[in-house]
Amino acid sequence: MTTTTLNHDEAHHHDMPTGWRRWLFSTNHKDIGTLYLLFALTMLFLGGASAMLIRLELFQPGIQLLDPDLYNNLVTNHALIMIFGAVMPAAAGLANWMIPMMIGAPDMALPRMNNLSFWILPAAATMLILSFVVPFFPGGGTQINTGWTLYPPLSVQVGMSMDFLIFAIHLLGISSVLASINIIVTLLNMRAPGMTLMTMPMFCWTWLVTAFLLILVVPVLAGGVTMLLFDRHFGTSFFDAAGGGDPVLFQHLFWFFGHPEVYILLLPSIGVLSHVIPAFSRKPLFGYKSMVGAMLTVATIGMVVWAHHQYTVGMSLGAVTYFMIGTILISIPVGLMIFNFIATMWRGAMTFETPMLFAVAIILMFTFGGLSGVMLAVVPADMQYHDSMFVVAHFHYVLMPGAVFGLFAGVFYWLPKWTGHMYDETLGKIFFWTNVIGFNITFFPQHFLGLAGMPRRIVDYNMMFTEFNVISSVGAIIFGLSHLLLLYIVIKTIRGGKKAESRAWEGAKGLEWELDSPPAFHTWTVAPQIK
C-alpha cells in the first residue's frame, strides 16, 4: 500500500477558504458531506410536503384539493425527490463524511470530482422541480401523470415537463455515478496501511457494494429514458408497438435499474446499523464475514430478479417461475443480515440512545416489510397484490425503516462527531417515538386497503375505503410534522450543546472516534498504523 508522506504543517489550517468560496469550490470531504446532507434535508422536506398533500387529498373520498393530474404529478415527484433527492444524497453525505475518517485517509481520492458530483445535484434538483412546475406556465404542456416508473405509452403523451424530468434523471445519474467512482477508488486505494478489505469497517463495505451497483444500473436507466426521449421527439419506436417496438421493454429497462436501486437505498443504512448496534450493545458485530457475504449475495441476486415488478405483463411460465424463486431466495441473505443484527444485540449490554432506538425499530419493521415482500414475490398471490395499496404499504415498510431510519440513526450517531456537540437526548427520543408511531399509523392500514381492493395511485376512491384512509392520513400528518422536530434538533445541535468527547459513545469503535469532535479541517494527514 502506498502511504502518503507529506509535510505535516502544510496540511493544516492554512488553506481553509472562507465564505461562499469554502462551499462552492470545496474539495474537502467533510464540507462536501455537509453539503450533501443539507441538500438531502431540504429535499426530504420537499418530498415530504408532496406526500402530505397526497395524504390530505386521500383523507376523504371525492376530489377536494388536487385535480387528478396534479395528484399524479405529486405522486411522481414525491417518489423521485425522495429517492434521488433525499435518500441517495444523504447516504452519499454520510459516505463523504465518514469513509475517509474510517479508513484513515486524508480525503476522498478524487476531491475535484467530489465537488463536481455534488454541484451537479442542485442543477438536477432545479430541473426536477421545473418538471413539476412548468405545466403551470402558459404553453407548459400537460403534467407528468405517469408515476415515477414513467411507463410508456403514457409518458409519451405527457408534455414538455417529461423532457425536463428526463434530463433531471440524466443529471442525477451522472452525479451518482461520479460519486460512486470516487467512493470505490477511495476505498480501494486510500485505506490506511494495514487495513485490509476484510478488516475495514462495515459501512465502507456496504458503500463499496452500493457504488458498484450504482455504476452497473444507473447507466441502464439513463439508456432507457434516452430511448424514451427519442420516442417522444425523434420518431423512433423503441416502445411503440405500432412501429415494431415494445412498451414492456421500457419496464424491463426501468426495473433492471429499479430493483437494484432498492438495495442501493438500503445498503448504506445496513452499514450504519452495523456500527450503531455494536456500539450500543457494547460488543463486536456478530458475523462480519457473513455480513459481507450476505451483502454480496443480495447485490448479485438483486441484479437478476427485476421482473418481479412486472408479473402481470404476460411473461412466459418459465420466466415468472424463475423470477419468483429468485426473489424468494433473496430472503436468505437478508434474513442472515437481520439475524446477525439480533445476534449482535444478544447478550450485549444495551443502552437505548436515539440511534439505538432507530436501529431496533429498523430490525422489527424492516423484518415486517421483508416478510410482506416474500408474500409479494409469490406470483399467484401477486396477481392480487400487484399495483394495489398493499404494495405501497410494503415498499414504505422496506424503504422507510430500511433506508431513511437508518440514515436518521447515522445522523444521530455521528452528529456529535460532526458538530462537536451532543444532541438533546430527550428531544431525540421524542422525535423517535412520534416518527415511528406516526409511520406505523400511516402505512399499516394501507395493507388492508390493498387487500380489500384499492388500487394505488388513484386520486378518488369508493366509500368502502374511507376508514383506513382517514387513519392513514391522520398518521401521515403526525409522521410528516415530526420531521420539523428533527430539523430543530439538528439546528440546535449545530449551534451548541454539551461538548462531545472524541469518543462520543461509550461503546463506539473505529478510527473516526480517535479524532477530535469536531474533527480538524484535514484529518489523517499522517496515515494511522493499523495493528
Binding site: T2, T4, T5, L6, E10, A11, D15, P17, F25, T27, P106, D107, A109, L110, P111, R112, M113, N115, V177, S180, I181, N182, I184, V185, L188, N189, M190, I215, L216, V217, V218, P219, V220, A222, G223, G224, M227, F238, A241, D246, V248, L249, H252, L253, F256, A307, V313, G314, M315, S316, L317, G318, A319, H522, T525
Partner: protein, 50 residues
Amino acid sequence: MRIPKYQTPELRNKNVRLAWVLGGMAIFFLVTSFPFWTGLFRIVGTQAMP
C-alpha cells in the same frame, strides 16, 4: 480549488486510472443497455403475441 498535496503522484495516477476504468464501465453499460437488454428481453420471452 486548491487541494492539499496529500497524494503522491504515484497514488494520484493510480486513483485516476481506476476512476477511468470505472467510468468506462459505466459508459459501457450505457451504450450496451439498448441492444443487450433488448436481446435478453427477447430470450426471457413473453407469451404476448404481436
